[in-house]
């Protein structure tokens, strides 16, 4: 299979994934190329697969430049960086990495809730700076029993709900349609959900419809005591509006793992103690990344050996 060319559009940062791909295919690392257009042009006839991630996928322009492209295997569950309609049109298969990262992302959502409400990072800073010697830290606010509203009740949303239930949190959700066998309360709009919960979590896929699904009105409805948790995609939230809502106290706090223009994070957020900022580490554990890599490689192998794909989306 060494003659099969695979183009990696994301940075080749995870050695295990790179090694496993290089064992089986000829791997072209786009991020290392000084002239990307030239690079693609030189290898276009041998590239039959693309491997991308949450940040770098396969847009229409790239797909058009790769005449031999058969499959896009994303090292992520989110596929907002892959032009799915275009892939459908050209009969290009698309796979992602569902399920294996569900627990880690859901864990992180709860971790962010605890970190924001109980001011864990700020407390840690308080101790390290020596301020504790001058006096006790102020009161924070209880997490157990707070109402949690989830935007999107897919695998990750459900996993978050299950965890929050263990903390006696009443759960409600918004989804495109109400889910029949679900015991949680459904709200037909995000604004109503936000008005009726204290912690709002974004856990849906990023599509044209969900772009800026958390906008100024939603943040105002969530309110000065409300907390927004985003473990979805940066563009789910109107980021400039988020910054001003936090600075003006119209929104109580935020726990963010994703941003509109990673790795750039709006600097006005750095000084806020009611905010926790993480560098997109939702699925960032050793085990999960390995399992994701195994799925990427497994899907590619299945395709080229003409076996059923493991986790196809298109």
């Amino acid at each position: 299979m060494e003659s099969i060319g695979v183009l990696m559009t994301c940075p080749p940062n995870f050695p295990y994934l790179v090694e496993e791909l290089e064992k089986r295919f000829t791997l072209y690392k786009l991020q290392n190329a000084p002239d990307k257009t030239h690079f693609i042009n030189s290898h276009k006839n041998s590239i039959r697969a693309v491997v991308g991630n949450a940040g770098f996928g396969a847009d229409a322009e790239l797909i058009d430049q790769l005449p031999k492209l058969e499959i896009v295997s994303s090292f992520s569950v989110g596929l907002d960086k892959v032009d799915l309609p275009k892939c459908k049109e050209k009969r290009i298969r698309v796979t992602n990495t569902p399920d294996v990262l569900t627990n880690d992302v859901a864990d992180l959502a709860i971790g962010l809730m605890l970190a924001v409400l109980r001011r864990l990072c700020e407390s840690d800073r308080y101790v390290r700076s020596g301020k504790w010697k001058k006096g006790d830290y102020k009161l924070t606010t209880k997490f157990t029993g707070k109402s949690v509203g989830i935007i999107g009740l897919g695998r990750i949303g459900m996993a978050i709900a299950t965890r929050a239930e263990a903390f006696s949190c009443p759960i409600s959700y918004y989804a495109r349609t109400e889910k029949p066998d679900v015991k949680y309360r459904y709200y037909p709009s995000v604004i109503e959900l936000a008005a009726n919960c204290q912690i709002l979590v974004v856990a849906c896929a990023l599509t044209e419809e969900t772009h800026h699904i958390v906008n100024r009105e939603v943040m105002n409805a969530l309110g000065p005591k409300g907390v927004l948790i985003n473990i979805g995609r940066g563009p789910h939230v109107d980021e400039p509006e988020l910054v001003s809502a936090l600075l003006e106290g119209r929104l109580g706090g935020a726990g963010l793992d994703v941003f509109e223009d990673e790795p750039n994070v709006p600097e006005p957020l750095f000084g806020l103690e009611n905010v926790v900022l993480l560098p997109h580490v939702g699925s960032g554990t050793v085990e999960t990344r390995k399992a994701m890599a195994d799925l990427v490689v497994g899907n590619l192998e299945a395709h080229f050996f003409k076996k059923p794909l493991l986790t196809p989306v298109v």
Partner: protein
């Protein structure tokens, strides 16, 4: 100054007195009015110009209860000076600052925070665990210091184990050996002092983490610091320390440690619930009704 003492003397003829040796955090935050009742009044030792011994001798006959927190120990010597005390109310879950044996000998009841701190304490323990395993505070620092832009993606976090049931272990070393994370939430007693020692930490191992929301002295702190610095355990989440607020300097520099200033239960909800419980216990006591949260001898 004389006036104040005279006033207190005058009041003592009306209502039974509850002694406060030092301010308690919960009263400092919520205000004394939150604890007021028509069944008792507070006697605040620190407001008197008299030296403590004299003060206690003066009011010995009218002090029937003591309200205390960790800052002021209730020792046998103290109880010796206050023969009318029949109740000690701890404004905390922990009672390690109270000589329970002396109270028992003297027929003095003790109450504590009962269950009002359980949710917040547990939330904090889980929060510290998440923080240490998924490096939440460290990653937050990374972003705020501009390193995500400068250095790129943050290093991967750590292992987790699927959890099935709650097996009981009678030996703490065995528990540590079989666990990825050890969470300390027991009382500090003579038996548990430095219970987490070199042997236990060694059993926990290079990939194990420890979370302490109990009391600092349950862990041999020197040994803990050495293990963290030398990589013999993977990390720690600590809300309590042996000599608060002094923290061993090495801890302040470690990335694999999360520190909080003994505030695991410091939420308005817990404090309000505690104030209600304190008042409830005192009122029950002075009405000869059963106490709400008596501490039982184990």
């Amino acid at each position: 100054m004389e006036n104040k003492d005279h006033n207190q003397n005058h009041q003592s003829e009306d209502l039974p007195q509850v002694l406060l040796l030092k301010p308690t955090p919960v009263m400092a935050v919520l205000g004394e009015h939150q604890f007021s009742s028509n069944k008792y009044q507070f006697l605040k030792a620190w407001e008197s110009p008299l030296p403590l011994c004299q003060f206690l001798t003066k009011y010995a006959n009218s002090i029937q209860a003591i309200l205390c927190s960790g800052a002021a120990s209730v020792t046998d010597d103290l109880l010796q000076l206050l023969p009318s005390v029949r109740l000690v109310v701890a404004a905390s879950a922990g009672t390690n600052h109270i000589d329970l044996m002396a109270c028992c000998r003297r027929g003095i009841s003790v109450t504590n925070a009962g269950n009002v701190f359980s949710d917040d304490g547990a939330d904090a323990a889980v929060g510290l665990l998440f923080d240490i395993l998924r490096k939440i505070s460290a990653a937050d620092r990374y972003v705020r210091q501009g390193l995500w832009v400068k250095k790129g993606d943050y290093a991967l976090g750590s292992k987790k184990k699927t959890f099935v049931s709650y097996p009981f272990y009678s030996n703490i070393c065995e528990l540590a050996a079989d666990s990825d994370a050890l969470i300390i939430c027991c009382a500090l007693t003579d038996q548990t002092r430095h219970m987490i020692n070199k042997e236990v930490l060694s059993a926990l191992g290079k990939e194990g983490v420890i979370v302490n929301i109990g009391r600092g002295a349950i862990i041999d702190e020197k040994e803990l610091v050495r293990c963290l610095v030398e990589g013999e355990i993977a990390g720690a989440g600590l809300d309590v320390f042996e000599k608060e607020p002094d923290i061993p300097k090495q801890l302040l520099e470690l990335e694999n440690v999360v520190l909080s200033p003994h505030n695991a239960v410091f939420t308005p909800e817990s404090f309000l619930a505690l104030s209600e419980l304190v008042v409830g216990n005192l009122e029950a006591f002075f009405s000869n009704l059963p106490l709400l949260s008596p501490v039982m001898d184990e």
